[in-house]
Symmetry: C2
Subunit: 307 residues, 2 copies
C-alpha cells in the first residue's frame, strides 16, 4: 500500500562530536520517506525553494519516491542549524529559517488520492489537520508532533489527535501532553485523546507501544522494542523520523495488520533509527539495501530474545 507523508524537506547544517556538515538534505519528510521507501511506495507533500535542485531530486528518484506533491516556490528551502556538541541526546538549535515553509499550503495531487496510509510528520497541527481532512480514503493515519506545538498550539493539536490512529512521540512529549510525569499514566491519558496506539520513543533505550486501554501494571497490551547499543553516533538528527518511516513503511507493506505486524513494525522502526545516526544527514538511509535491513532486524531479535 502507498503512504502519503506531509512534512518538511529541508537543508540542515549540523555539528556533532564527529564533525560538521553544511546544508545536507534533511527534514522530517525526507528522513521518513527514505526509511519507508525500503518497504513500500512513498508519496511526499512538501514545499521546497530554488535551492532544491537535480542533486536533491535524484535522491528521491533513486528510491522511487513520488515527489509530484513537492511544490517548488520562489526563495529558499526550510533551513535548520543545530549542534550536538554539548549533548548527543538533544540538539541545541542555532538557527531556524522557515523560508518557503512559512507560507506552506499543502496541496494533494490527484495521483495521491488512493493512498491508504497517511503520515503527518511534525508540522503545524493546522496543516496536519487540513491534510487529514483532504485524505478521506486513508485507512491508517499516524503522526508526530513536538514540544513547540504542545506548548503553544495545544487546541489545534488536540483536534489532530482525534483523527489519528497512531501517535509517535518521545517520553518528554508524552508527559507534556498529559501533564503527568509517570509514563504509563501519561500514555493512558494520551490514548484517551484519540489515538488507538501510542509509540513512545526513548532514544538510546528503544521505544514502547501502548495499545488502547491496558490493565494496571500489566504488560499484555504494551510492547517494547530495543535500540541497538551504538558505539559511535555520527549525527542523531532524524532518528525519530526514520523510526517512524521504518515502522509505518513496514506496516504499509503487510497484507494484514495483525498484532504480530505491529510488533515487527516496532523493531523495523528501531532498525531504521539505528541506521540513520551512523552517518551525517540522510547519507546512511540513502545507501541501504533490504538485505542489510533484515540482517539488522535479526541482530535486534538476537539482542532481546530468550531463545
Amino acid at each position: 500500500m502507498a503512504i502519503t507523508v506531509v512534512g518538511s524537506v529541508a537543508f540542515d547544517t549540523v555539528e556533532t562530536p564527529a564533525g560538521r556538515r553544511e546544508r545536507c538534505l534533511a527534514g522530517a519528510a525526507t528522513y521518513f520517506s527514505l526509511a519507508a521507501s525500503y518497504f513500500t511506495q512513498v508519496r511526499v507533500i512538501a514545499v521546497v525553494g530554488e535551492d532544491f535542485g537535480p542533486e536533491q531530486q535524484a535522491v528521491f528518484d533513486a528510491h522511487k519516491i513520488d515527489i509530484r506533491g513537492i511544490e517548488r516556490a520562489p526563495g529558499k528551502s526550510f533551513f535548520w542549524q543545530g549542534s550536538y556538541l554539548e549533548n548527543l541526546n538533544e540538539a541545541k538549535t542555532l538557527k531556524t529559517d522557515l523560508n518557503v515553509f512559512a507560507g506552506f499550503e499543502p496541496k494533494i495531487p490527484e495521483a495521491y488520492r488512493d493512498s491508504e496510509f497517511l503520515f503527518l510528520a511534525n508540522i503545524d497541527p493546522v496543516l496536519q489537520r487540513r491534510v487529514r481532512e483532504a485524505t478521506p480514503n486513508a485507512k491508517l493515519v499516524a503522526g508526530d508532533t513536538m514540544n513547540y506545538w504542545i506548548k503553544d498550539h495545544k487546541p489545534a493539536l488536540l483536534e489532530v489527535l482525534k483523527g489519528l490512529d497512531i501517535l509517535l512521540i518521545n517520553d518528554t512529549e508524552t508527559r507534556m501532553i498529559a501533564g503527568n510525569s509517570n509514563l504509563v499514566q501519561a500514555a493512558r491519558a494520551v490514548l484517551e485523546l484519540g489515538p488507538r496506539m501510542l509509540v513512545v520513543k526513548h532514544g538510546e533505550y528503544g521505544a514502547t507501544a501502548f495499545f488502547g486501554k491496558s490493565p494496571k501494571n500489566v504488560g499484555a497490551t504494551t510492547f517494547r522494542a530495543p535500540a541497538l547499543p551504538l558505539e559511535e553516533i555520527i549525527d542523531p538528527t532524524g532518528a525519530g523520523d526514520s523510526f517512524a518511516g521504518g515502522f509505518f513503511g513496514y506496516l504499509a507493506s503487510q497484507p494484514e495488520l495483525t498484532p504480530g505486524a505491529f510488533r515487527r513494525a516496532m523493531f523495523y522502526g528501531s532498525v531504521m533509527g539505528s541506521f540513520a545516526v551512523e552517518r551525517f544527514g540522510t547519507d546512511r538511509l540513502q545507501e541501504l539495501s533490504r538485505k542489510e535491513i533484515d540482517e539488522r532486524f535479526n541482530i535486534f531479535r538476537e539482542l532481546t530474545h530468550l531463545d
Copy 2:
C-alpha cells in the same frame, strides 16, 4: 548452588509520592537475599545492632536464608533516610548513620565455605576484596558498587574489579568508571578492568548485558532485558539490589551456565526489580511466590518477543 552475599542489612526511612515509611527492614544484602531466595539457598554476611530483633529475623527465616553470618554488635543497625519526592528516579539522601557498620569486619562462617556463588553487594571495596579472598571456592563472583567508591576509592575498587566475573552497575556508574560518556565504549573499557560480563541497569528502561569483547556496533555479544512499564511506583529503593538477587539467584539455580541461562537471568533480574518497587521497603519481596514470579517472567517475554 548456595550463594553467599556480603552487604548491608539496615533500616530505612523513606518518603515517596506514595507516602512515608519509618524504619523498614532494608539494606542491599536484605533486598538481594530476599530476591535470590526464590531461586536458591542464600547465606548472608553482615552486621546488625540491637534493634535487629525477632521480627526482622523472622523475615529471613521465612525464606530459609542462612543468617549465621550476620553478626550482632552493641549499638544500632545501619540507618538510611531518603526522599524521592522530587525525583522518583534518584533518591535524595537525608541521613546516613553507619552505626555498627562503621567497624564492620566481615567474618565468614565455616558453614558458608562451600558456597560456589559469591555476591559482593555495594560496600567498601576493601571489605569486598577481603571477602573475595576469603572465599577461594567461589566459582562465580558478582558485585555492585556506587558513585562514592568510584569517586573517592578508585584504587581499592579497581582491585575488586580484577576478581569479579560479573559487575552490575547503572549507566552513570559505568560512564564514571570509564570516564567516557558513550555507554558502549564505557562498557568495553570496564570489561578491560576484569569482569567478563557487565550488566548495566537503566532503571525504568531495563538493563543491558555486555559480554567480553564485541565487534563494533553489533549486538551479537550484547543482550537487553526490558523493564516493565509501571503505572505506580511506591518505593524505588532496592530495585537494583533486587535485580541482582533475581539475576544471580536464577544463575545459581541452573545446572549449567549456558548463554541462554544468562539471558533468562537478565529477565528474572528485571522481574524481581519490578516487584520490589510495588511496596515500601522489602514488603513485596517478602510475600511473593515462585508462581507469581514466573507469571511475570512470561509478561516480560510477551512485552518484548516478536512471536
